[in-house]
Symmetry: C2
Subunit: 331 residues, 2 copies
């Protein structure tokens, strides 16, 4: 922290299909440098870790300065207090990797690691749509549904580092099947693949009403995507509008339960499904309002960051290490 320009922050994002490394300094609203690498289909954890070290070393060599702190966003469950990666759902070989510890040994600087939803929540709180909101829920609605909490202005991860798993709260008993093995989880009911699943399920009894959507896929229901449904809905296809609205209602119900239970200042929604149009947003907000006690505010807004959200959160994570020295790993 003796550099005139401020301490150097090393920021890493392990995303499942891509790795990103970047450098920044506190208070700078941009990157000194950034490198990205798209992982091949059969990459494993050790390979990705090595690639990330390479990217980071290249960046650091070009700046000629060691990092003062390292912030890491990881796309999978993390035990944040120890910076321990539990696993990746996309890439094998990440089981129980002490990532913070390894990076600290590698670069000689304290490292903080958290899962991407928690990190994105922190990024939105510090730099994005959640500024000034001490109690904040960030929800990403994408190929899955994940969430992260800020409570009293601090990341909140719970007893096992698992807080924020709103995607696996129940919104529809005996509803659509979920990757977790149960049914009716918010994720199964409202994420991108869930929206497509619902369309496939309802096509059977839709008759001619389903034809416009089916035509977009060349007649193959397996090709249906949430993006396709959103576009068809915006172009006036009533079947797609119905599918989208039902999924949006389920999301509104899940958010209502979170609002009722925790009464946050604001909910921020990110992820591809949030690009589904104004009507989707309206149904989400109206449903959340209808199912929440009137004394509880319902403030649901789009995320400020999209692809760069994890890196912005990693900046906040790295800064928080510098500002709270008691949080530094001791080994």
């Amino acid at each position: 922290m003796t550099h005139a320009a401020g301490p150097l922050l090393l920021l890493l994002d392990y995303g499942g299909t891509k790795l990103t490394a970047a450098l920044s300094r506190p208070g700078q609203a941009t990157w000194l440098d950034q490198r990205r690498f798209f992982t091949p289909a059969r990459a494993d954890g050790p390979y990705e870790y090595q690639k990330m070290l390479d990217l980071a070393r290249e960046l650091l060599t070009s700046v000629g300065e060691p990092p003062a702190a390292i912030g890491v966003s990881f796309g999978g469950p993390v035990y944040a207090p120890d910076g321990l990666v539990r696993l990746s759902h996309h890439v094998p070989g990440w089981e129980n990797v002490p990532l913070a510890e390894r990076l600290q040994a590698e670069f000689g600087a304290p490292a903080a690691v958290d899962n991407d939803a928690n990190v994105a929540a922190l990024g939105e709180y510090r730099f994005g749509a959640g500024q000034g909101c001490e109690n904040l829920l960030y929800v990403t609605v994408s190929t899955g549904i994940g969430g992260g909490w800020l409570i009293n202005g601090r990341p909140y991860v719970g007893a096992d580092g698992m807080a924020g798993e709103i995607g696996h709260t129940l919104v529809q008993p005996d509803g659509l099947p979920c990757v977790c093995g149960r049914r009716g989880c918010l994720e199964a009911e409202a994420c991108g693949p869930g929206i497509a699943n619902r369309a496939r399920l309802y096509l059977g009894e839709a008759g001619p009403a389903g034809e416009p959507l089916l035509a977009l896929t060349g007649g193959d229901p397996a090709q249906i995507t949430a993006k396709m449904i959103a576009e068809a809905a915006q172009n006036g296809d009533q079947f797609s509008q119905g599918i989208l609205a039902e999924s949006a209602r389920r999301l509104g119900l899940g958010l209502a339960n979170a609002l009722t239970l925790m009464n946050p200042d604001r909910v921020i929604l990110g992820g591809g499904v949030t690009k589904s149009g104004q009507r989707w947003w309206q149904v989400v907000r109206d449903t959340a309002r209808q199912h929440t006690l009137p004394e509880i505010r319902v403030d649901i807004v789009p995320a400020a960051f999209s692809d760069d959200a994890p890196l912005w959160g990693a900046v906040a994570l790295a800064e928080s290490i510098l500002n709270q020295p008691t949080n530094q790993p001791s080994n």
Copy 2:
């Protein structure tokens, strides 16, 4: 805080049907003195407030010492940051009463007021079944269902002071009607009157299976209570066992959603319905476990305190004022 015996704490509990005032000192596991008053059926807010002042003055006169801090548990919605009572659901005339401010003016000591579920959560955390649990959900399952949070060892009340309203999270779309005007809220599905409602609803198609329970009421379904159902269930009545188990499953689902969303260290259950027997507890715990991700702990235990819970919480509330002077009201 200059008294050799420690500062005097004045503790008040407005319970809906009874008022209690007590005195204690930090670190004392008992009351110096305590007075209780059962409110007449047509009492209103101003009457109750006056009665409470009388009780408190009697106690203080007998000790001959002013209070250093005042902790208050109120049976209804409170905006805790300001100690503002929103209303009582049982007694008229409590609308928007600045209770903390009035008590402070009256007794010359800082006062903290919160609703009974939040106060009970704090009491269990400091002195009861939640000791050592920095992240704690307390749920009272009684004539209604309320909840209170401790997050990072501090009461958490949310943006509008409404956090913890688990009773109004949705567990069964289109389920039993709730006092809030919606259907399928956890409260409607699992509180005492909700259990009785379910029994009345199912009696119609139960035939002879419903007769043992109905006989206990002298043939009048309106007389059915949750306590009666629990007793019949424990005595082997299968109809009552089914009613109780279904209500317990709904509670388990509601708790699973809270566990999934917040991953607390522990959930503490208090209130009369928790006396419904080992089978009720087993169904609640099993259902919560089945509907929560395996990485998330499910630790659900009975409250340590029953009738005195609000007073114990008020002790913790009063102590917290003394320990955190920045929280003292400024006027």
